[in-house]
């Protein structure tokens, strides 16, 4: 059979998330309807049976994440999608998957919060919740697509990273990206090489959590294959059995958390433009980055030395890159649809005085001119200093 040529299709972000998940080899989806992510559930219910996969509409979001963790334990690639209120409900089980090291992917399409908020309006208020929403120190991977093609790419990548490092991966998007339609050229199936978790080969003597204490990732046996291992959200030893031994507990929690930093250089991705000679760097992500880039280009046309850093990975936070940008640029503007969540990290890494927060919290996306005005104001301020 001759393979088809790539074609350009008009698709929305929610479609691209689903296509990316299918490309990764998604075989199990459990979810609960919630705007603005519902299309992902609808599409999965239609597409999964075609590839022998399973869709379950659970009774709530807690059940949804629990079900995908259960399915993942059988070796199937598993995902759920949700938005703010549902994402809040999932927090306990995100911690469970982090500690038990069970690969799962969660699509969180952000809407205005807190609470029911504005269900069909974009926001970026879940940034810190993706990092610290569950209790206790834990690893997490959070990717933020900036256009529809990236919804495909980063969902596929979320599966790859989650499988590779046994860390839950969240694709953090927003209403604009999820509902925006763009012409997208997807890769051909033959061009996609999804990663699968490492598995042990012999059941005898299998220690499910035995690994290099400095962030090692143990191979994971699927349930139902004769390994007969134990999974618990209690702190556990290398055999997976619960323990109150402080030394064993410390070793576990250090190893699990070390994964996030140890593999940060592999996980962190970004896109940049004009950073080399910039006075003013604009650091953004998701839908805000679209407006930001337009503003940066406008500033360049006006003779302002502006540059753009768009983060594709939010957690682990790309510290090294942001530090380097901070060392060169005189100011870093951080436009985001919240009161300043990524800005907190930029302030921590690049210095408090370096950061100019640009926030919008009324359910509307930034217009490029709003960000441009902030760039211009900042540029004038810099001149004044001279």
């Amino acid at each position: 059979m001759t393979e088809k040529k790539r074609t350009v299709r008009l698709m929305q972000g929610n479609e691209a998330f689903t296509a990316g998940a299918l490309a990764a080899g998604l075989k199990f989806y459990a979810g609960y309807p919630i705007t603005p992510s519902t299309e992902v559930a609808e599409l999965c219910s239609a597409e999964l049976p075609k590839v022998g996969g399973t869709f379950v509409q659970m009774e709530d979001e807690i059940g949804s994440i629990a079900a995908i963790i259960g399915a993942s334990l059988t070796g199937k690639k598993s995902m759920t999608a949700t938005s703010g209120p549902g994402f809040s409900l999932m927090q306990e089980c995100i911690g469970y998957a982090s500690l038990c090291e069970i690969p799962i992917v969660i699509i969180d399409v952000q809407r205005m919060g807190p609470s029911t908020g504005m269900p069909t309006s974009p926001a970026q208020g879940d940034v810190m919740q993706t990092r610290w929403g569950t209790h206790g120190d834990h690893p997490i991977i959070v990717l933020a697509p900036g256009n529809v093609r990236e919804c495909f790419d980063l969902t596929l990548r979320a599966f790859d990273l989650s499988e590779k490092y046994r860390i839950p991966a969240i694709v953090l998007s927003d209403e604009v990206i999820a509902h925006m339609r763009e012409g997208v050229e997807l890769p051909l199936p033959s061009e996609v090489k999804p990663v699968r978790r490492a598995m042990p080969t012999v059941p005898a003597g299998y220690k499910p959590y035995e690994a290099d204490p400095d962030g090692g990732v143990p191979p994971m046996a699927p349930f139902g294959m004769g390994y007969r291992w134990h999974v618990t959200g209690l702190f556990h030893d290398e055999k997976g059995q619960p323990t109150n031994n402080p030394a064993v507990a410390e070793k576990l929690i250090k190893r699990v958390n070390a994964k996030m930093q140890r593999y940060a250089s592999d996980i962190c991705e970004w896109q940049e433009e004009g950073l080399d000679d910039c006075d003013i760097a604009v650091l953004s992500f998701g839908a805000s980055a679209m407006s930001s880039l337009a503003a940066v280009r406008q500033a360049r046309r006006q003779g302002i030395k502006a540059g753009m850093l768009r983060l594709k990975t939010l957690w682990p936070f790309p510290e090294d890159k942001v530090r380097k940008v901070g060392a060169k640029a005189k100011k870093i503007l951080v436009p985001e649809l919240n009161f300043g969540q990524v800005a907190l990290e930029v302030e921590r890494v690049a210095g408090f005085d370096k950061v100019v927060r640009v926030n919008k919290v009324n359910g509307e996306l930034f217009r490029p001119e709003e960000i441009y005005a902030e760039i211009e104001k900042t540029a004038k301020g810099l001149k004044g200093v001279r």
Partner: protein, 286 residues
């Protein structure tokens, strides 16, 4: 010859339960049921939530999953739907199953997911030291009901049956042969089975309510449990204050995974030669 111990992770014993606790009896009944049915250890997954009951899975030599509070049935639903060939058992307690996990219970029953759920009902939250649960009988004492609870309790078996479970029964830690028998039948049912085991918590329920130790509690259970066949011949006033034991409901229906499997077969066949669509072999939706 019985080889019951071989189903345990013997290096994990002794267990953490209090002397006289009924949970070991139920765990033993499950293992005996599995042994008598000759189930393949490698094809049985046992899932639990949080609480005294849920610590049982750590001692059992199967693939075992000790989950979050109340969510065992939701995790188990994922396992069963991803691997319908596995036998999936949920061990849970009255608080875990009927309070925080109540929503998952009624929906797992409604879907008729192929899960055998064994509820260790000791009528109290034991792990957190004695608070009243949705299964604590009205008037009984708990550390959060120091004057006696004024809440009404569930009839869990009726709840499960009404929600759609296809096998329902109740036994006790006193009526162990019955308990084993019900668990065996529950395991043989393709769909959702619920077996409630009324048991004793001497440390909290017995002590707080001045019923006595494990022996007195088991005697209380013996005196108050009425087999469902005997109850049919008794007058309502004779059944006052008693509870029924035995098989209450047994009407097999296709389990959820089987029904969904048929859907997959149909859709796969329909789209077998269709290319395009969202990804790879998926058809165009437009």
């Amino acid at each position: 010859m019985s080889n019951t111990l071989s189903y345990f992770r013997q290096d994990r014993l002794p267990h953490i339960w209090c002397p006289g606790c009924g949970h070991g009896t139920v765990t033993g009944a499950l293992v005996r049921a599995i042994e008598r049915l000759g189930l393949d250890k490698n094809k049985v997954v046992i899932v639990s939530g949080i609480g005294c009951s849920s610590r049982a899975v750590g001692y059992l030599d199967f693939d075992t999953l000790h989950t979050t509070h109340g969510r065992a049935l939701a995790f188990a639903t994922g396992i069963k739907m991803a691997r319908p060939d596995l036998k999936v058992v949920v061990l849970t307690g009255d608080g875990d199953c009927t309070a925080i996990g109540g929503n998952h219970l009624i929906h797992a029953a409604r879907r008729n997911v192929g899960i055998t759920t064994i509820v260790m009902n000791n009528e109290i939250y034991g792990m957190t030291s004695g608070q009243y649960s949705p299964m604590t009988p009205k008037g009984m004492i708990g550390t959060t009901a120091p004057y006696g609870t004024v809440e009404r309790s569930f009839d869990l078996c009726k709840l499960a049956e009404a929600a759609g479970a296809t096998y329902v029964g109740r036994a006790t830690t006193y009526h162990v042969p019955l308990l084993i028998d019900l668990i065996m039948k529950g395991l043989q049912n393709d769909g959702f089975s619920l077996i409630e085991s009324v048991g004793q918590c001497p440390t909290y329920f017995g002590r707080k309510n001045k019923i006595g130790g494990p022996v007195e509690m088991l005697n209380w259970i013996k005196d108050h449990a009425v087999p469902v066949q005997a109850a049919a011949k008794m007058k309502p006033e004779q059944l006052e204050g008693k509870f029924l034991i035995g098989e209450f409901y047994n009407k097999p229906e296709p389990q959820y995974a089987a029904a969904y499997g048929e859907l997959i077969d149909k859709v796969e066949a329909e789209y077998a030669n269709v290319r395009g669509g969202l990804w790879e072999c998926a058809p165009n939706s437009d």
